[in-house]
Symmetry: D2
Subunit: 328 residues, 4 copies
């Protein structure tokens, strides 16, 4: 049984808390969050301790840390945990600044500690099935990949700046998935953006609609279609076209009931947002982290993957701003 | 090129007129219909003659007759055509009275004339694919067959009586399909009916909702689910379950466009009614009839099939009225 | 926090153990099972006690019992639990003999104890959505209900006798769902059966393929199509046709990935069997039971529902054996 | 009744011949084709004349010409037909050279003759439904358009050069559809290409895999995903995402039969190629042309549309070759 200190008792922290509790090999040992009320509530529910950052980092009974706190705390917590020998699961991003990411990873590299970066989509059963079918040669060599990724509704405009912009905040998942699915790093990236959803987002210097094209050494081309607002839930689809056919991962719908009537055949929307759509992914991510804790696995997405995705997000931004393809 | 005399210039006559015209080997030679205006209009459109019954039957240039006139004329026209050596396509039913059907078939049997009975669904590409997959052994031995067949909206109640009732008028197609798909004749039939759609239909002594169960010598069980009113178009589906899996023929929708929005994912209804749903079936039926005319094929549904389906419809009626299974 | 004693550490007991553990308001307090090894393993995993029947029944710290033991123990355990004031969740059936069911329910009725009978499908999110849409008037008055229910593969023939036969063991779920969805009790039942899947099942006096038709006071007709072997996973579908359209609950597939290639478009099979298909249903069932424990709800399926379903199963058997409709 | 002279008795000529014959208001009057055997066969089948170019152009009984001959004859035939007052339906492209297209259109512009350019996809019922739903405001303002267009298998490499390359030959349809669906002309185009399918195509200086991104004045972004080889039939899909949701036009499958078995759920591939997929589009295109002939409609795609699509194809080529976005 591994004892886990959870940093962050917010929305994503609660997701991890459930999974830590439900997994037969982990215990939600302590909660660390400056927002006392949220921390207490979670601690009560799971019979966990409240700890300060220092207490958790120095507590020899803590085996692993789960970092789901504010983005600007991630790098510090990673460094502290690494220096104290705690195995790390950290939500993306490591940091919004590439230089800070690199410094942090340098600290980590001097320790034997493993870190799993929370690119949750890598653990989604649909995308894993697609990747395993591809790996099994079902469609032969990859030729083009199309990722559709749309949020149900836009965040407040002021979130735009804080989050690092659409590419760093949202597209970064898709950039990671393109690398992961194809198993190569792109050699060129071209990005196009528009502000179509909310003027205030544009005024804050961000976009809400984007298309990103990446060229890979094998000749394969990946296209990402992003929007901050779908109007019909969380649209998360992937199509991988290869020499022998197509693999297509569709949306998970809220239910499978159809109503056939005067206005046609009506079925449910895709599941609303990431908490619903990636519920199974978070469970699988946690199970993988337990394997890492147990020394049975190395992280399938680590600090390097976190850095690479950020490099791509910055290159996409440069491409959009300059109107030119960026060679990598 | 075969010259065709078309008996009946109504709704179904017009369907045949188009197909006769479009087929490279047939010509719409003449129209026979007591309703002069309709006949003239069709004759004008296709540059066809107007003929009386006698003229058409005696005209040596007429090679085939297509009988799409009122039900109570079918048997007479079949007999005349047979006696005059015209190859026959006759819409179902041959007659609503089994004894008249048998007399008519006896007359036909004394001639060398071939007759195709218009059980249009046998020619539907979906059901043909299902049957051919079954025939190819894809699901092994048949175990249960489920036919769903619902009209978009009920006919006027007075049609109920004229049409011979729901079993003779509507279910008869499904009874024929069960025999055709399974390739056996049932040994028992049990029918259940309700008047749910229109009280006037019940007052006219008919039903509008039915379930018919048939047992076959092989042990296979067929179930037919019928309604005079779907509320969402023409529902024509079939499922054949066998020892190695399931074959399922779905509805043809009006189009394949989906709208994903606030109220879910909306797609089109099934095609409205038999003219739309079985457009391809009527074309294939005509092509088969041309093969019969050319001596290249024998009818895949003949007088015997017409008689058998009527026998089943009457047995279903008896079962419903007595509340007992009828052994055949 | 409610302490639960779990009777039965087998396949279904393990499902409940997970849900008891994961629910924030219940604790897996003790395991009762004569098979010591299985009991110990489960107790170890969840840090639960091992108790004898008597210890659990008499332990004042046990608030509720979850009965997932062998069928022939259910009635006894229900009586003991009722007499000791423990809230009960009991897997179906209460007993295979109707008289024993009635005796047991009479004992229960003399106590204030609530019992939830585990008709798990009532808690399936798909069927709940269908029922709630129907209840909201989306399709108006119900006219016909079609339940398709096929197991992935047949049980051993000797299970046939022990289980009480196909109607009592398997169809009983569908009989319950027909009552539940339509909200009425049938007035007549007609059943047809065949042995198509495994001769040994027939030799043991049972069937493996069945169609059951029920007539309801409203005029609605329900049809159940059952098979012990689908060849493609667990087929669990429902169609409710009403005056304004159709509600259709489809199968849950193993995943949503499609492969488009030379041999067509291939997607996953339905989830394999009830543990997978009804995983969410078992979670929801447990959540409902916690509400019953907490006095916030009365059981949505109780002893009476268990008895009614068994009455229908016996009537179906009588109908099949006599070849006649059984009036209820 | 309009008399039509058909130029070209090849594959596409035969498609038009059927539709000319089947339409109640047109007659296949004559065939013009230097390949005598093909011309004779078609003439015999439809009881049409054989004419030389001059005879057809000068024959006062010819009301319209349908040009389905070799690409390098199109511009000449258009000019001749225009000068002789024949209404024109011309297959795309008008010519592979933009200057020749412009000269030809200048000649046409001096006459009162109407010309319909055969961008067949504009007449496809699926895409028409999508466009009409968009026009009706179902999804509000357009934000992103995604066109997937893949041929079933690649043409011979030597076809690459003759056809003007992938953008001029294949993508041109998609470039036209993007303009048509969005109702705007793009202001920038960026293209990416790869040779993944057949090395010989690359050696001939062409590509077989492409992604094209277009920016529109409204801010909308269109993405085209092309391949010369799908491995699963003709993949022709479109997704239009707007402020209130998504409109999605799916593939037409060869049939709607599904086989559920051990290896999953197998359904049919998309229809094989353009003759099957766009059969209804060609019929609708012809019906529209008859309306143009009758003075009831103006062509929904004319010479200007043909020219615009070619301009976009050339700009796409320039973008791919220079690695830069081309501003229009």
């Amino acid at each position: 049984m591994f004892n886990i200190a959870l940093f962050g008792a917010g929305r994503i922290g609660k997701v991890h808390a459930v999974n830590i509790h439900n997994h037969p090999d982990t215990k939600l040992y302590s909660i660390v969050d400056p927002y006392v009320e949220g921390a207490n509530q979670l601690a009560l529910q799971y019979n966990a301790k409240i700890q300060t950052i220092e207490e958790a980092m120095l507590d020899p009974d803590v085996h692993g840390v789960c970092i789901g706190s504010a983005t600007d705390t991630h790098a510090n917590f990673i460094e502290l945990a690494a220096q104290n020998g705690k195995t790390i699961l950290c939500e993306k991003p490591i940091d919004l600044e590439l230089s800070r990411v690199r410094d942090c990873l340098a600290v980590l590299a001097k320790t034997p500690v493993s870190m799993l970066v929370g690119f949750n989509r890598r653990f989604d059963p649909q995308f894993k099935k697609l990747k395993s079918q591809f790996g099994a040669g079902v469609i032969g060599k990859a030729e083009s990949l199309l990722i559709t990724s749309r949020d149900p509704s836009p965040p407040p405009a002021n979130y735009a700046k804080a989050s690092g912009g659409m590419f760093r905040d949202m597209s970064i998942h898709d950039l990671d998935m393109a690398r992961y699915i194809l198993g190569e790093d792109p050699i060129a990236i071209t990005a196009h953006g528009s502000c179509m959803v909310d003027k205030a987002i544009g005024e804050a210097g961000d976009i809400d609609t984007a298309v990103i094209v990446m060229n890979f050494p094998s000749g394969a081309i990946a296209t990402i279609s992003n929007s901050r607002r779908s109007g019909y839930g969380y649209d998360q689809r992937m199509e991988l076209h290869g020499e022998k056919g197509l693999l297509q991962a569709g949306n998970m719908k809220e239910d499978l009931v159809q109503h056939w009537g005067e206005s046609g055949c009506v079925s449910a929307k895709p599941q609303y947002f990431f908490l619903e759509r990636y519920e199974q992914a978070y469970i699988a991510e946690w199970a993988h982290f337990v394997d890492v804790l147990a020394g049975k696995a190395t992280p399938i997405c680590d600090g390097n993957d976190g850095e690479r995705a950020l490099v791509l997000a910055e290159a996409a931004l440069e491409s959009m701003q300059t109107g030119k393809t960026v060679l990598l």
